[in-house]
Symmetry: C2
Subunit: 157 residues, 2 copies
DNA sequence: CCGGCTTGGTTCAAATTGGAATCAAGCCTC
DNA sequence: GAGGCTTGATTCCAATTTGAACCAAGCCGG
């Protein structure tokens, strides 16, 4: 095997990559912080509530939820258990598939989400949205949207 | 307190935010995977090696390193200990400050990094860089660069 | 209807993380 | 030069994350 020289990143590419790494870490840290302080929720937990609140019947199958959150199934099991203990989410069994488990947002969960949302949205604005011009925001959405689509599908050529 | 209605995200903003969340999770997951499989390193560990390899004397103070990686000091202590056990990094004491600890990349660490780098760069290209057009890449770099700068500095108005 | 493969979720153990507490050492100010 | 605040790093502990193993339960082809 010829051990080809890899295509290293040029300066522009490196800048984008570094920016991506820093920005994601910083934003993630900041939001985690804000949610913990203001709503006693982890970001993962908050996202569970958001997904459920937007779903029909305020409920989703575990697997579907795991895919949307881009997390492992076991990780989701853990977090849903936590949320269940806190009374924000309930587990129901799935009518169409005995094996299935449906997570459903409780009224209390809805209320907690409603209370947490304004502060969280403000933090999202402060750390990302309002930092950029509308054009920058659109470019960002286009680029990252493409990245997501590419990685979700099985990377077709 | 009047409890003002918060400024919710409009569709464009929401799209950007969703894209950001998905893309970061997916990319992070993919790279973590690739490094674990191909080089038996976590992404954090890889980044430690990268930072050290690029620093003068292949060495950096713990705090400086923690800031660059955007991680907690205790987390860094842990990872450096792991890397030290593996012989990839060594701890030295700092000449100018008795309290200081300097992490230094060993020859073995340099070698491991050299072996891991091509595969990692390829994965970075595949998941982010090569997915975008050069223009998109520049826009991305500009936007995320701004975000990073804003969050690193104490968010001046 | 019966093995055999895939799916849906949970359980388990191991690794990682992050914050608070700790401890030593630098840096002042008075 | 003594007391008091800040800094640098580690230790400790509780929470989280992940993959592997596992246990049903569906879904066939023969």
């Amino acid at each position: 095997m010829p051990m080809e020289e890899p295509r290293w990143l040029d300066d522009r590419e490196r800048a984008a990559w570094i920016g991506f790494l820093s920005a994601t870490n910083l934003v993630s840290r900041k939001l985690e912080q804000q949610l913990k302080d203001d709503a006693a929720l982890s970001h993962t937990q908050y996202e569970v509530l958001v997904q459920l609140s937007a779903a029909p019947d305020r409920s989703l199958r575990m697997t579907e939820l795991a895919e949307r959150l881009v997390t492992s199934k076991s990780g989701l099991t853990y977090q849903v258990t936590q949320l269940e203990r806190a009374g924000l989410v309930a587990r129901r069994s799935c009518p169409s598939d005995v094996r299935g488990v449906i997570a459903e947002l409780t009224d209390r969960g809805m209320e907690v989400l409603r209370e947490a949302a304004p502060g969280h949205v403000a933090a999202v604005r402060e750390s990302l949205i309002d930092v950029l011009t509308p054009e920058q925001l659109d470019h960002l959405a286009a680029g990252l949207g493409e990245v997501s689509r590419r990685l979700r599908g099985c990377t077709p050529p």
